[in-house]
Amino acid sequence: MKSKTVFSEKLRADILQLKAMYPIAQSALIPALHRVQEEKGHLEPNSMLEVAQLLGIPPIEVMKTGTFYTMFHHKPVGKYRVQVCVNLTCSMLGGRHLLSHLEEKLGIKDGETTSDGLFTLIGVQCLGACHEAPVVQINNDYHSLVSEKKLDTLLSSLRSGAKR
């Protein structure tokens, strides 16, 4: 099956550049999928086909790898991915309460996205910052020693478009 191009020139060029960095093309797969997701929000089948073509590897390889890792999304996600650590140290210091607080406040369950497409709530495993527990990662940014109040302020500032 030949897919029609869904990528911009720039995205195609970036993926080819990643491919050139490694002795085997498939090594560029995870970096390429990160790059696609950065631009498109999630990984659609057509996007994965185009990655396969650009890297010159079978589409099944892209599917196999693309579906293994928790950071890759295959359905649309919110503009802000609110990732609450539910592992041990964070739970000891209130992390899971933060998750329930958000479920209630946003009216969604772990894994779901608000209807305005703004927030996706995700309970995640240890983020490697346990001394700052409880920890919440929003998109790429870590927030430490998070309280309900701090979280509420954070979300409303995101909501009002005032980026931190």
């Binding site: 995870i30 390889e61 140290t89 495993q125 490697g128 700052e132 527990a133």
Partner: protein, 419 residues
């Protein structure tokens, strides 16, 4: 002595390359290139440096397994997948001190005859990724990496992001992931030293392991061995979290008092609480009870006490915690992270998790306790990689030492603590 140390390894947020150089950064190159590659391997062996990723394998011995001649290129791979619950020391180096890591990887490359390194960094560590990419560029621009380091040696580094999978910290799963595959452990042998990345001989070491090598080169063997005891030398990073007032990453000499570390360096427990148990080396290691922590903090002493220093990630648990819930949370983690390759891990952990959910909701049965122990028994030693073995200690130990809490849950008198 429980005062933190201040070598190049000590956590230091914000060191630009200039500041790093002012602190003596990249000085190890003078010593490194005076020696032959074999002399470097020998020095690392003699130092007794043990891998800081969890298994504590002697680093010099690992390097000595790399064949001198090889048809395929050799590789140096840094394991920066840090994801063992409780562990957050490598992040300090990646975000705060990446040039030290680069310096150590160059030493390894020179010692084993490799010209290419990879830093495999967990996907969530985006800030650390950006900082490492920038540091590699800075190092290239100044000739600390690249075609002609000190006019003697060529070495370059690619920084590679993972995408969320604890199992990729297992070294062979990491190599598969670096080749663009699902991160699932490989059958060993062949070991990575013989056939690793792209089938070439490969050293895989932890971030802190590489970062320890420049200290050794700059300050020499006598200095290095002045910290700790035989088989347990050197300055080392310790991460402490949980119920202590000053959680964090501390650089300390190996062998300080475990008790002092908790009660002095890390500020002790919150007021009015008492110590219930300590996880000494990351979530995969056995619990130590309060009466067991009057020991030196090093590999051998903790092994003697029945646990393991692992990744030197200490989680302090006080009397406000329910041990059944503690075991439940970690079981959920291991089940979530099982790569699915082998049955005892994939199915066994799923079953155990269901039992914990039953206990949590007050539906537990008396037979659940022996059932849990039996399932643990069937998992240990019967899986493809050590992930599932790591899930067992917290289940086993909480049942052995805190059985009454399980019984209370079963009797419907469980703690109020719902997680």
């Amino acid at each position: 002595m429980s005062e933190p140390m201040k070598t190049l390894l000590a956590p230091d947020r914000n060191p630009s390359l200039e500041k790093y150089l002012a602190r003596g950064g990249y000085a190890s190159y003078q010593e490194l290139f005076k020696k032959s590659p074999k002399e470097v391997v020998d020095m690392v062996s003699t130092s007794g440096l043990r891998g800081r990723g969890g298994a504590g394998f002697p680093t010099g011995r690992k390097w000595s397994f790399i064949p001198e001649k090889s048809q395929r290129p050799k590789y140096v791979v840094c394991n920066a997948d840090e994801g063992e619950p409780g562990t957050f020391k490598d992040r300090e180096i990646l975000e705060g001190n990446p040039h030290l890591l680069i310096e150590g990887m160059v030493a390894c490359g020179y010692a084993i005859g490799s010209n290419q390194g990879y830093i495999y960094i967990r996907g969530e560590f985006y800030a650390g990724y950006l900082r490492c990419v920038e540091a590699v560029k800075e190092a290239r621009a100044k000739g600390y990496l690249g075609q002609s380091i000190n006019g003697k040696f060529a070495f370059d580094i690619i920084v590679h992001r993972g995408a969320g999978a604890y199992i990729c910290g297992e070294e062979t799963a990491l190599l598969d992931s670096l080749e663009g595959e699902r991160g699932q452990p490989r059958l060993k042998p062949p070991f990575p030293a013989v056939e690793g990345l792209f089938r070439g001989p490969t050293v895989v070491n932890n971030v802190e392991t590489f970062a320890s090598v420049p200290l050794l080169l700059i300050n020499g063997l006598d200095w290095y061995k002045s910290f700790g005891s035989p088989n347990n030398y050197g300055p080392k990073l310790f991460a402490i979290s949980g119920n202590v007032t000053k959680p964090g990453v501390y650089e300390l000499p190996m062998g300080i008092s475990f008790k002092d570390f908790i009660y002095k360096t890390a500020g002790g427990l919150p007021k009015g609480r008492t110590l219930k148990a300590v996880i000494p080396g990351g979530s995969s290691t056995s619990l130590l009870l309060p009466k067991q922590i009057d020991i030196p903090l090093d590999y051998d002493s903790i092994a003697k006490a029945g646990s393991s220093l692992g990744s030197a990630a200490i989680i302090v648990i006080d009397d406000s915690n329910c041990m059944v819930m503690t075991a439940k949370i970690l079981t959920e983690f291991y089940h979530h992270e099982s790569c699915g390759k082998c049955t005892p891990c994939r199915e066994g952990l799923s079953w155990i998790e269901q039992i914990y959910h039953r206990l949590e909701s007050g539906q537990g049965k008396a037979s659940d306790i022996p059932l849990l122990l039996d399932l643990c028994d069937q998992i240990v030693g019967n899986t493809f990689c050590p992930l599932a073995d790591g899930a067992v200690p917290i289940i086993h130990d909480t049942i052995i030492h805190f059985r009454s809490e399980y019984e209370a849950h079963i009797a419907g008198k469980c703690c109020e603590q719902k997680h």
